[in-house]
């Protein structure tokens, strides 16, 4: 009898071991699949949140100036005039011009920002400091280097300067976080000067046209 119990116990043990050995990879696969699903849904939610602001046809059509890379002078920016219906609200207006900037120019070679980068949020503080929160792709997909990173930030600051006079300074966040550099070079811990002009009380109906040569660099500001 004892022999039989031993035999049954050993059989049960082997069975449990085999069952665990078979079930473990299946379980692991399920966990990984669930994690991936969660990741996908997070990305989906992020994309839904960052849907481009709908262009309201009722908004006045203005000649917006968007700064993309020059095709004639290496590593400089040129303004491209695009007629867009832009909101009078500075936050909506900023989102509209930045989303257009992110969408890129006709010639994809001249884009300054990665095609998969998204504007997640945009805030404007009463003192004229704007906070632009971009998706991680801005940092991970941008070509690493001083010249490319500076060109990317300049295209953002100069586009805001040309179209949203209320924005005086810009702080760039990546996925809601302050980061030390954009892609290993450009300092994102401070704020960038967008405009030194005083904001007009009412938003201009037409885009401002700054009298600046292409390639002028934005200067960061650091408050003590």
């Amino acid at each position: 009898m004892t022999q039989r119990w031993k035999f049954m116990f050993a059989s049960g043990f082997i069975f449990a071991l085999l069952a665990a050995a078979i079930y473990f990879p299946i379980l692991r696969g399920r966990v990984k699949r669930a994690a991936k699903l969660q990741q996908q849904s997070e990305e989906q939610a992020r994309r839904e949140l960052a849907q481009p602001i709908a262009i309201n046809p009722g908004d006045p059509r203005v000649k917006a100036q968007l700064f993309w890379a020059s095709d004639t002078i290496d590593s400089t920016l040129v303004p491209v005039t695009v007629e867009l219906p832009l909101s009078r609200d500075p936050v909506l207006r900023s989102k509209q011009v930045l989303n257009t900037l992110l969408a890129g120019p006709v010639d994809a070679e001249l884009r300054t920002l990665p095609p998969d980068a998204l504007l997640l949020a945009f805030y404007l503080l009463p003192d004229g400091t704007a906070i632009a929160d971009f998706s991680e792709a801005l940092a991970t997909s941008i070509p690493s280097g001083i010249v490319s990173e500076q060109l990317a930030v300049n295209s953002i600051t100069r586009t805001l300067e040309a179209n949203v006079p209320q924005v005086q300074r810009l702080k760039i966040l990546i996925h809601g976080q302050e980061v030390e550099t954009l892609a290993g070079h450009l300092d994102l811990t401070g704020t960038f000067v967008v405009s030194t002009k005083q904001a007009s009380p009412a938003p201009a109906s037409a885009a401002l046209t700054p009298d600046k040569t292409p390639g002028t660099l934005a200067q960061p500001v650091r408050t003590p």
């Binding site: 059989s11 078979i22 990984k32 280097g145 001083i146 490319s148 290993g184 300092d187 960038f192 934005a218």
Partner: protein, 278 residues
């Protein structure tokens, strides 16, 4: 009776094994799809081959990294910073070119050219390490009468050109105790950095057509915490088809930096007493 029981139990175990075998045979049809999904989504771990130390790296003439040198005669020390390293390869070209490796090779030639001009040279890294921005700045900040040169290779820009960057404007510094905040250590040196940068850029422009004639400003993180005349030299670019095209630029870059430092030396008067950093 006992035999019957044994036969029954053996049959039972046999059936269980058959069932288990069937399960094992059936599971591969599910397993591969489950196993492959995460595999394709997970990038392979970045290969970080060990870099051989540069031959000139551990030369006996290297002063102690953090031992402040008494330099009564002004500039005679250059802190050379090959950017990136370790797990951070910097810019990467399609042909497997890594910025972190090339700048280390460039540093050897820049170092030799500077030593020929009579400068002592300290490197922020000798091999495939990745000191923090602050650690690299600290190497320069621990010295008096030094200049700082950080070497980079870009991902973009016209191939065969070189650009010098100095830090963008920083607000005035020094508190009531005369201490300079660490995070704005570059502020008192911006004018000197511009003079040094313009000199180096001028020599680079002579050698590499298409390069700018004067140093440009950019908010380079590495320069901000450096309490010395500091420039970033960026070569274009890792997109070259063959790294020989970049290697060919190294002597010209080294010569321009050494000549720039030599030309800058008379204009750099090291303050008798510098404010400390806080």
């Amino acid at each position: 009776m006992r035999n019957l029981l044994r036969v029954k139990s053996l049959a039972l175990i046999g059936l269980l094994f058959v069932a288990l075998l069937a399960a094992v045979l059936a599971s591969p049809s599910l397993a591969p799809s489950q196993a492959q999904q995460p595999a394709t989504g997970t990038p392979p771990p970045a290969a970080t081959p060990a870099m051989p130390s540069p031959q000139g790296g551990a030369a006996g003439s290297v002063p102690s990294q953090f031992g402040a040198l008494a330099q009564a005669n002004g500039l005679n020390l250059v802190v050379l910073d090959p950017a990136h390293g370790g797990t951070d390869p910097g810019a990467r070209g399609t042909g497997g070119i890594r910025e972190s490796e090339i700048v280390l090779d460039f540093a050897i030639q820049v170092r030799r050219a500077l030593e020929l001009q009579g400068f002592q040279v300290v490197q922020t890294r000798q091999g495939n390490e990745d000191p923090s921005f602050d650690d690299r700045s600290a190497t320069a900040n621990a010295q008096r009468g030094a200049v700082f040169v950080t070497l980079h290779i870009s991902s973009t820009g016209m191939q065969g050109t070189a650009r010098v960057y100095v830090n963008s404007d920083l607000p005035p510094v020094a508190d009531s105790n005369g201490l300079i905040p660490w995070d704005r250590a570059q502020a008192p040196f911006l004018g000197l950095s511009k003079t040094f940068g313009d000199l180096v850029q001028g020599f680079l422009a002579q050698r590499f057509k298409g390069s700018p004639g004067a140093a440009q400003t950019a908010s380079v993180r590495q320069l901000r915490t450096t309490a010395a005349p500091a420039i970033a030299v960026e070569i274009s670019s890792v997109t070259v088809e063959d790294r020989v095209d970049l290697d060919r630029m190294a002597p010209g870059v080294a010569d321009a930096i050494a000549r720039g430092a030599a030309a800058f030396k008379p204009s750099y008067v090291v303050p008798a007493v510098t404010g400390g950093l806080r």
